[in-house]
Every structure is written in C-alpha cells, then in structure tokens.
C-alpha cells in the first residue's frame, strides 16, 4: 500500500510539472534559446522520473517491493551528489557566465540553473547507481 501511495504521488507530481510547463510554454510568447535549454532539462527530468515510476510499477506487479535497502542507499547517495552539484552550480555558473560570456546572470536564472543542475545530477547518479551497480 505504501509503495502504491508513493507511485501515485510520483505520477501526480510529474503530471503537475508537465501541466505547469505547458501553461508556461503556451503563455511565454517568444521563447529564447536559454529557455529552450532549461525546458529541455525539465523534460529530461520528467521522462527520467516516469521511467523510475514505471520500473517501480513493474516490480510491484511482479510482487517485488518498489524500493529496498539498496535503492534507499542509492537514493541517499544520489541526493548528496545532487546537493553538491547545486552548491557548485550556484557558485560556478554566475562566475563562468561573467568571465567567459561577460553576462551578469539575473537571480531567477541562477535559481533555475541551480535547481536544474541539482535535479539532473540526482537523476543521472540515481539511474547509474540503481541499474549499473556501485
């Protein structure tokens, strides 16, 4: 029951993100290249989350648990990598954009990049550790 609740919550969050993203795209008017890049990362994150949810549904249907001790450890490990990536991107991305492109990043862009960098690092490390082993 706990597994099913988790799966339903995951589907709900992914659907909410997609609905929000579609509202944004429909009302944004002209979308610039940087925004395309950020939207692409969000779509990659949602697709990866859907893959993880589908894998959990497959396991629950077979009578296996959606998550076990190895996946919990994998989750913690991926979370810590995501956290480190967020901190480094908060410091590094404004610096790089300032030095290399002579562009001072607005605060909302930095926030978006930090969230997306953390999320992407979490997803990549989670999928790597979960399906390739440690």
């Amino acid at each position: 029951m706990k597994d099913i609740k988790g799966i339903l919550l995951g589907i709900g969050i992914a659907a909410a993100v997609l609905v929000t993203l579609s509202f944004y795209v429909l009302n944004a008017g002209n979308i610039e290249l940087e925004e395309f890049f950020l939207i692409g990362i969000v779509i990659i994150l949602v697709v990866s989350a859907m893959y993880i949810i589908w894998d959990r549904i497959k396991n629950v249907n077979k009578g296996l648990p959606a998550q076990d001790e190895r996946l919990k450890l994998t989750n913690y490990k991926a979370c810590s990598y995501g956290f480190i990536a967020s901190i480094w991107s908060a410091v590094g991305i404004p610096l790089i954009s300032g030095i290399l492109f002579d562009f001072e990043m607005p605060g909302n862009y930095v926030t978006a990049v930090v969230v997306l960098c953390g999320g992407l690092t979490f997803m990549i490390s989670y999928l790597y550790f979960a399906y390739k082993g440690e």
Partner: protein
Amino acid sequence: MKTRIKELRARYDLTQEELAKKIGVRRETILFIEKGKYNPSLKLAHDIAKALQTTVDELFIFKDDE
C-alpha cells in the same frame, strides 16, 4: 567479498526473482550481491542465508586483504 548465492540458488532450483520475492528485495539487488557489487546489510545477509538454509559465514567468503 565473494558469495555462494548463485551456487546455493542452483541447488534449490531458485531463480534470482524467486529468491528476491522470498526475501522481499528487488531482483537487481540479488544480482549485484552475487556479482560482489553491493555489500548487503547484516539483516539482509541473514535473510538470504535463512532463505538458502545456510549461515551467513558459509554464504559470504571474506578475504583478509579486503
């Protein structure tokens, strides 16, 4: 660390999935333990040993240099 899980599974004619169901873990976890890519907790090691009707120290072979 090496394990005898594969050997004992074959003895009891169990697939990785059947053993995983018995213990309550995912199939990949059994696969990674067999390959030596994941060190299970003491409780999981005990559960696997129990499911394969053996003891933890017979199931896992430790080398001193590890």
